[in-house]
Symmetry: C2
Subunit: 202 residues, 2 copies
DNA sequence: CTATCGACTGGCCGACCGGTCAATATGTCG
DNA sequence: CGACATATTGACCGGTCGGCCAGTCGATAG
């Protein structure tokens, strides 16, 4: 049954993971102390060591927890296809863009993972990419998309275009003539979709 | 005249900046100690404080030094236009891609700066973006590129596509079906350039 | 009731942190 | 040759770090 407020190790672990994720993502692993995480999660520093061992192990658990949840959300959205094939790619880009727009912590988590060159995390979204690439391959064979480009690169390209937009947002917000999220998304989609139509056979 | 091996404050500053850049870029500012920088540059820790003050000031000097050198290189290459207008954009993308390919430390430096949300650094490449956007605007008015997209977004898009490719390389190298640098670049250029041709007026 | 196991606590440790400071070495100028 | 500015050094400071450990608390099983 549901436990009372005290002595709930699962809830404790969850609270530690949440606080650690927030702090790690905001300031970086090296800049966050175990004492800060303890304070942020309302538990003792020793208890964190009891549940997760070392700080590095905690970071590993945080990554696995947050990343797998994100990957699951994305897969569910991707597998529930109800749009016609011709618009599937465009709506996928749009959904991914909105997803990152509403979850800035995912963007920063990815950025930290990239800087660590953690190849282990790539397994978690490899399945997503494979799924998306398969959809694009289908559309290519149906003549809806040009077939002289690697489907995986198509997925990679739009993921990159969305990720980097939010990653570097503070930086390029000072660039002259740049627009807001919506304006960038629309221009990207114009170029991206027009660049993928099959060439006129004539 | 040229000084001997001892007592060359300029050389000392340069050595400290080089060592600090390498360490900061590799491990992040918070994870690098002044003692490590001292060891890496062959000087005393106190001497670093003497020349640069605090650790944060050193990081600022490192950013300014590396970033301005990078921006200068890019501007020189951009201002020496000798290619015909029709190919300028494609060669610009190619040059920028090769530039990042040969300077992985620039890619990582940018990634760290983005995570800091340091808006001050955006002034350094804002001029570059303005210059590139102006070239694209010229090409639009000459009818070489579609004119219903923001020129700044065109620059932003290809910068993002190149940056994120190298930033996340270790991560997406595990994705199924992904190609190498050259294959990605070619596919990106196909989509990008085809997406920018003016629509058939008929 | 008692034995037992895991959740949980406070205190402690050695190592290391960024930064300071007085003292010294070295080059330059009068 | 001094006098002076500054590059350079090593010792040292208070504070914080991650991790450890002995021990208490609380639920559950026998």
């Amino acid at each position: 049954m549901e436990s009372t407020s005290t002595r709930d190790p699962d809830l404790t672990r969850a609270r530690i993971l949440d606080a650690a994720l927030a702090l790690f993502v905001a300031h970086g692993v090296a800049a966050v102390s175990m004492r800060q995480i303890a304070e942020g999660s309302g538990v003792t520093k020793s208890l964190i060591h009891h549940h997760f061992g070392t700080k590095e192990a905690l970071w590993g658990a945080v990554k696995a927890h947050a990343f797998s949840r994100y990957a699951e959300e994305q897969r569910e959205a991707l597998e529930a296809r109800q749009t016609p094939d011709a618009l599937l790619l465009e709506t996928s880009v749009l959904r991914y863009f909105r997803f990152l727009q509403q979850r800035p912590e995912v963007v920063r988590l990815l950025a930290w993972i990239h800087l660590e060159a953690d190849e282990g995390c790539s397994e978690m979204d490899a399945e997503l990419v494979r799924l998306g690439a398969a959809r694009i391959h289908e559309a290519q064979q149906a003549g809806l998309l040009r077939d002289d480009v690697n489907p995986t690169h198509v997925v990679t390209l739009f993921v990159h275009a969305c990720n980097q937009w939010f990653t570097a947002k503070a930086h390029h917000s000072g660039w002259p003539g740049i627009g807001d999220d919506q304006a960038y998304l629309e221009d990207f989609l114009r170029i991206f979709m027009a660049g993928l139509v099959p060439p006129d056979p004539r």
